[in-house]
């Protein structure tokens, strides 16, 4: 049987089975493939490493459970690095489906690093309005988010005593799945309020941010699970992203094989038709 005929008759469920195995097997038996951090990831890490203890960092976590595998690991590692450098972290959410998920991650990492809520960090929760919220935080963060995620008045929180607007923050970290996200922060906030911005995004949206990375408007970037895994490697962690990279490696290899075999089958059919 020819390759073309084989693929035409192939039940697509076999493809699904192989893909499931390609993902499952390395998750159960890790391959521990070596990681090499790329320049945007090194820049992301180094920007945080250069912060002085006590600096306030605004962290916008704009993602929902659908993008959890890509963005949760980088959120955890970023929070760990910030807490270990004794930075104050102010978290905001501009993505409607993400407030609860983000709070869960922040609380877990804060507990593990013995950080006090309201003193070392605060989660201000979700606010609708996209770019309007970003610009309004330039006037007053407490005015834009009068209550935190738990409904407490933010003006009474110790951490907020020294936080007025972007000028009070040494860095803006934007971890986002799409709109509103890192691109909008660069466009609306970086140039206007002169605050350094670093971003962590899904693999599919990473290429759209390369122009901002090259101009220096974005000081560092983590692209998808690969970026998160490289960042974990730089932080000497073996987290969710590093474990997931083995599965992603095999899944990518399988998709590449599918594309190559599909085209070979097509050329074979064309060759037979012309012969």
């Amino acid at each position: 049987m020819s390759l073309a005929a084989f693929f035409e008759r192939l039940d697509r469920r076999w493809i699904y089975v192989i893909m499931a195995l390609m993902v499952l097997v390395p998750l159960l038996w890790p391959l521990n493939l070596p990681l090499e951090p790329s320049p945007p990831v090194r820049a992301y890490h180094d920007v945080i490493a250069a912060l002085s203890p006590g600096s306030t960092v605004l962290m916008s976590c704009d993602f929902d459970p659908a993008s959890r595998p890509e963005l949760e690991p980088m959120t955890r590692t970023t929070l760990r690095q910030l807490f270990r450098q004794h930075c104050k972290v102010v978290v905001v959410v501009l993505y409607p489906g993400g407030a609860r998920l983000v709070d869960e991650i922040v609380q877990e990492v804060a507990r593990e690093n013995r950080q006090v809520e309201g003193v070392d960090y605060v989660n201000l929760g979700y606010k609708a309005g996209n770019e309007a919220v970003m610009v309004l935080m330039g006037q007053s963060i407490a005015g834009t988010f009068p209550r935190d995620y738990n409904g407490r008045d933010v003006t009474g929180l110790p951490i907020m005593q020294s936080v007025r607007n972007y000028s009070s923050c040494a860095l803006l970290v934007s971890l986002s799945v799409g709109y509103p996200g890192t691109k909008e922060y660069v466009q609306q906030v970086q140039g206007r309020f002169h605050i350094p911005v670093i971003g962590g995004v899904t693999a599919v949206s990473a290429p759209t941010l390369y122009p901002y990375l090259q101009t220096g408007q974005l000081s560092g970037m983590l692209g998808g699970m690969a970026g998160a895994a490289e960042y974990e490697d730089l932080r000497f962690e073996r987290g969710m992203a590093s474990r997931g990279m083995d599965a992603q490696s095999l899944a990518h290899l399988f998709i590449v094989l599918c594309i190559v075999l599909g085209n070979l089958a097509q050329w074979e059919r064309k060759w037979k038709e012309t012969a």
Partner: protein, 216 residues
């Protein structure tokens, strides 16, 4: 007057907001801040309006027994139950152990993760059926895609570890992202920005009126 007043308001507010970008004086910045705060309040109303509209459209479909009405019924039930529970639980609806939190963790979170995870299977299946190289442009696209796909995972590095550094798949992938991809992306960005500026000017000057009840 029905059209002139909205057109005048749009032009006045648009020009004022542009002015606020260049004039940092209080006489301009304070009203501009007020307008931006108003935008957030309008967006919040938009969410309520969106929910009400969703309910109306889907209720109508259920009543008329349109195709797929059972799915719409599930949607309505989900919306009504979630909103009602949120209202009953009040300000603490996001606290641990509430029914709203349970819905988020056990229903919304797992279902949206499952939907996204299904993509892997569809991409694999579509890869050998749809990604066909028929022209030179398609060949270039496919080669770039294959290099970037393998270059962004550690396995690519392992498979090409024996090659000189410049020829390894991760170096080639980074070059594709930094140079041709970046150039094309920048061109799209500049084009889109010019388009946004032109559209903004057309709206402010009253040439573009499609936002007023669909009139061109």
């Amino acid at each position: 007057m029905k059209r002139e007043i909205p057109l005048f308001l749009t032009a006045a507010v648009g020009l004022f907001m542009i002015l606020s970008f260049f004039v940092p004086h209080q006489a301009v910045s304070v009203p501009a801040d007020f307008l931006q705060q108003s935008a957030i309040i309008i967006v919040a109303f938009g969410i309520v309006l969106g929910g009400a509209n969703l309910l109306r459209v889907n209720l109508e479909a259920v009543v008329r027994r349109q195709p797929g009405w059972t799915y719409k019924l599930v949607l309505i039930a989900g919306l009504v139950v979630t909103v009602t529970l949120g209202l009953i639980e009040g300000r603490d609806f996001q606290a641990a152990g509430t029914r709203s939190t349970w819905i988020y963790d056990q229903v919304y979170s797992s279902m949206s993760s499952a939907m996204f995870a299904l993509l892997a299977f569809f991409i694999a299946s579509a890869a050998f059926r749809a990604f066909r190289i028929r022209t030179t442009e398609a060949a270039l696209l496919a080669v770039a895609a294959l290099i970037v796909m393998m270059g962004r995972v550690p396995l690519g590095g392992v498979l090409t570890a024996g090659l000189p550094r410049e020829l390894r798949v991760e170096t080639l992938a980074q070059w594709i992202l930094d140079v041709p991809q970046n150039a094309a992306n920048r061109a799209i960005l500049i084009g889109a920005a010019l388009g946004v500026m032109a559209t903004g000017l057309r709206v402010i000057l009253g040439i573009e009126r499609s936002y007023l009840s669909g009139e061109d």
